[in-house]
């Protein structure tokens, strides 16, 4: 029996081994190139204009990244049902959960069994070979895209790869505001202590000191936290608005870069007078470290700042304990709805030259460049592009695809404007986000808006009004010289990803240590030496090349 068993074990192992080798070698079919086929009576399958889009029913396989709040399937969305009726195209949806998206993307593209379109974020320099360039087809089949890109060249540039081709169409959600990140301070505390809004770092220091010592929340306990921040869990992502990095604005510095959607766009570089410089080796960064370490050593800065996570920070905020902080979006995200009225937006402190510096977003809203992609296996790319155009060229369709059906998520007001319906939700949906992202393609879709679309929505919520006011007050101070969003060569992108991770790891650690233990000239010298070892020079050079090219293209 043992001999038999050993034999069967051996055979089993050999078999498994062989299977894995063989299936690894399965090369798969050649991808079909797009072509214009004709129907039996030699009418073109795809119509260049008008509806239906196809003269003969075709089925297109679509792979989508499912929004986490989407409760139904894409096939059931009203916009899709309407599209199938009107265009004649039938869709077959493969929905992938967000958390598996990256892996499945790689797996699908490597498998040679490609769908016709892939809808979801992707790192295009790496995957470009799997997708069709769209630029030459836009004029004929997606005129709205052409028109939109003419109006917004920076969006076209951001989606274009260095070889000049456009391999995807983006999702653009204009929110009318270039300055989501803001500085907030507790007005009630200021009033209680009869203090003015601080405008210089000196004044801020005094205010924070008063916050700590003079019990502005009047509860006879020294529980106030003058300033608090937290570090993003992923130290490779320095985009978090509530991190200490936002405080460099007080010194005339910003954290710019192009990065990628997952490590964030902040790469510790900055453009000034046409040159790209590395922020952490600038003199002003030294001033920043000196100032923050002073705050820390005097207890004006949360002791947990370099250790706590998002939720600890918010727990303190929600108890109204934080006097001054930086944030993104609405104050509620930090202090909750109970305390948000106590806070007002202020400008960052003036730097040495007396200027306020604010880092805006480069596109005034949400933007994902790589959303709508047609694979090399698609036989009817023209049909897909026409579908895109159909979904985006009229306001009604854009609204249907991005927000859903009338009187569910939105309604028309008497003055012609649109308002969101947030008071009640239909059966099966417990939040607005669920409703919107289920009954429309929501934030997983591929619609593009511009400012005119945004202005169709009426702003009634006091919170939104506050948000707009902040945007207005910040406008004059938004930094103008920015590194435009866009794509770089694959190898440069990969190098940048590696260097960026290493640099950010080092800088994050260096900042924490300097603030906690203090900074002096000799430690600074060591730091400069370390940056040399990290090959910051190459990092900045790569950025300078990119920046120069971008300026050329966007002239």
């Amino acid at each position: 029996m043992s001999k038999k068993l050993s034999k069967s074990l051996c055979i089993l192992v050999l078999v498994v081994f062989t299977i894995s080798m063989i299936s690894g070698c399965v090369a798969g079919k050649d991808p079909d190139k797009g072509n214009t086929e004709t129907t039996k009576d030699s009418k073109p399958v795809v119509n260049k204009t008008g509806l239906p889009i196809v003269n003969e029913p075709i089925t297109l396989k679509m792979m989508v990244s499912k929004h986490r709040n989407d409760k139904i399937t894409w096939a059931e969305k009203p916009c899709i049902i309407k599209a199938e009726e009107e265009t004649g195209i039938k869709f077959e949806w493969t929905e992938i959960q967000g958390s598996a998206w990256n892996e499945m993307l790689g797996v699908t593209l490597a498998s040679k069994d490609l769908p016709d379109a892939i809808i979801g974020g992707a790192n295009l320099p790496l995957y470009a070979d799997s997708f069709l360039p769209l630029n030459n087809l836009l004029g004929d089949y997606a005129p709205y895209a052409q028109e939109y890109f003419n109006k917004h060249p920076e969006i076209k540039f951001a989606s274009t790869l260095p070889d000049g081709n456009l391999y995807s169409l983006p999702l653009v959600h204009i929110t009318g505001n270039n300055a989501p990140v803001g500085y907030a301070i507790n007005k009630v505390w200021l009033d209680n202590l009869s203090l003015d809004i601080p405008e210089t770092t000196e004044e801020l220091y005094n205010v924070l000191k008063a916050f700590k010592e003079k019990d502005p929340n009047k509860n006879n306990e020294q529980d106030e936290i003058p300033y608090s921040c937290f570090q993003n869990e992923n130290t490779a992502n320095t985009d978090s608005p509530s991190s200490i990095n936002t405080m460099i604005w007080n010194f005339g510095l910003v954290n710019d870069g192009i990065g990628n959607p997952f490590t964030g766009t902040s790469d510790y570089v900055m453009a000034e007078n046409g040159k790209v410089l590395f922020v952490p080796t600038d003199e002003r960064f030294y001033d920043f470290l000196e100032y923050m370490s002073k705050l820390f050593s005097e207890g004006l800065m949360d002791r947990d700042s370099f250790v706590q996570k998002n939720q600890d920070y918010k727990a303190k905020g929600n108890k109204g304990l934080i006097g001054f902080f930086t944030y993104g979006g609405y104050e509620d995200t930090v202090v909750g709805t109970e305390y948000s009225d106590q806070y007002i937006n202020i400008l960052p402190m003036k730097d040495k030259n007396g200027n306020h510096t604010i880092m805006p977003t480069k596109i005034s809203g949400d933007f994902t460049y790589s959303v709508f992609k047609i694979t090399t296996a698609c036989k009817y790319p023209e049909a897909l592009l026409r579908l895109w155009d159909y979904a985006n060229s009229t306001f009604e369709n854009r609204l249907l695809w991005s927000w859903g059906v009338e009187n569910e998520a939105w309604e028309k007001l008497d003055d012609g404007k649109i308002a969101k319906i947030t008071s009640s939700f239909p059966e099966g949906f417990s939040t607005y986000s669920e409703l919107r992202n289920s009954r429309s393609t929501g934030m997983s879709g591929f619609w593009i808006w511009d400012e005119d679309d945004y202005n169709m929505f009426s702003i009634t919520e006091p919170r939104d009004k506050k948000y707009l006011e902040k945007g207005e007050s910040y406008k004059p101070y938004l930094k103008k010289d920015l590194i435009p969003l866009g794509q770089d060569e694959l190898e440069v992108t990969q190098d940048r990803a590696t260097m960026s991770t290493e640099i950010k790891n080092y800088i994050t650690n260096f900042v924490a240590e300097s603030v906690i233990k203090g900074i002096d000239r000799s430690r600074w010298e060591t730091h400069l030496e370390n940056c040399r070892k990290l090959d910051v020079e190459k990092f900045v050079n790569d950025y300078q090349n990119y920046y120069d090219r971008a300026q050329e293209m966007l002239k």
């Binding site: 990256n102 040679k112 790192n123 949360d302 991770t501 994050t508």
Partner: protein
């Protein structure tokens, strides 16, 4: 196994395995020459070896204790309770650690301050990182790891024990002469297998425990690979590092196995 070759190529999914360009050891060189390489290696190995050596005796000790615990109820309850922490997910485990050890509000520091001492930055001080990592790991997995030893002890022939009692052995002696030798083969195998994991400092726990101030000790190879390879930007680079890891692991295993064969006359083969 076929997929291992991407470590030597510039893999893009479109080109596939066979079509991607061959680059030889480029990725390996890139990794070895990177600024953080030695720090990563050091952090990974120190953490691993510390954990390996320190955590090794605890499950054995616990198994022996449970074996000889006098009251049946106590034994059963202790056994069940000590095995429970293993099931706590890493997110919750580290979350709890943060709740307990946070400088300002953590209960541990509250107690420390009430005793008149200074706050200890358990979570931020790089020097504390290894201890926090290893000891929390011991807390969490000792009960679970002791199961195999408990089972082995349970299989020791009771007649051996009876015989030794007749010969006048007390419990200490029985442990030394009967129980430990019976566990020894299993313990050795487990030690060898764990040595073969020496480069695998787990990603999830380390990542969750990283804070801005402890990075100099808490950045290990697995977290580095995650950050560098996010979104699959660098399949090949990540694969190369992974291969490097596995080669080291395997070599260590072979060495430890050889040693144990010579010394304890038992090993994997």
């Amino acid at each position: 196994m076929y997929g291992l070759q991407i470590a030597f190529k510039n893999f893009t999914p479109a080109k596939g395995y066979l079509g991607s360009d061959w680059v030889g050891f480029k990725h390996f060189n890139k990794f070895f020459n990177s600024y953080h390489f030695w720090t990563l290696l050091k952090n990974t190995l120190f953490l691993s070896i510390y954990h390996l050596i320190v955590s090794f005796p605890f499950p054995i000790f616990l198994a022996l204790v449970l074996n000889y615990t006098p009251f049946h109820k106590l034994k059963k309850i202790t056994q069940t309770v000590t095995y429970a922490p293993y099931f706590i997910s890493m997110v919750v485990m580290v979350g709890m650690m943060f709740v307990f050890f946070l400088p300002t509000t953590g209960i541990v520091n509250v107690v420390i301050r009430s005793l008149g001492k200074e706050t200890i930055d358990f979570l931020g001080d790089p020097k504390m990182f290894r201890h926090m990592y290893v000891w929390s790991g011991i807390w969490q997995s000792t009960g679970w790891s002791s199961i195999i030893y408990i089972a082995t002890l349970a299989s020791v022939s009771p007649e051996l024990h009876e015989a030794s009692i007749v010969d006048g052995a007390n419990k200490f002696q029985r442990i030394w002469y009967i129980d430990i030798p019976s566990i020894l083969p299993t313990a050795v195998i487990i030690l060898i297998l764990n040595a073969g994991r020496i480069m695998n400092v787990g990603f999830e726990k380390t990542f969750l425990m990283q804070t801005a101030s402890n990075l100099s000790r808490s950045e290990v190879i697995s977290t580095y690979v995650y950050k560098v390879g996010i979104m699959g930007v660098q399949y090949s680079y990540a694969a190369a590092i992974g291969l490097f890891n596995n080669v080291i692991n395997f070599s260590v295993l072979l060495i430890v196995n050889k040693i144990s064969n010579k010394v304890a006359d038992s090993g994997l083969w």
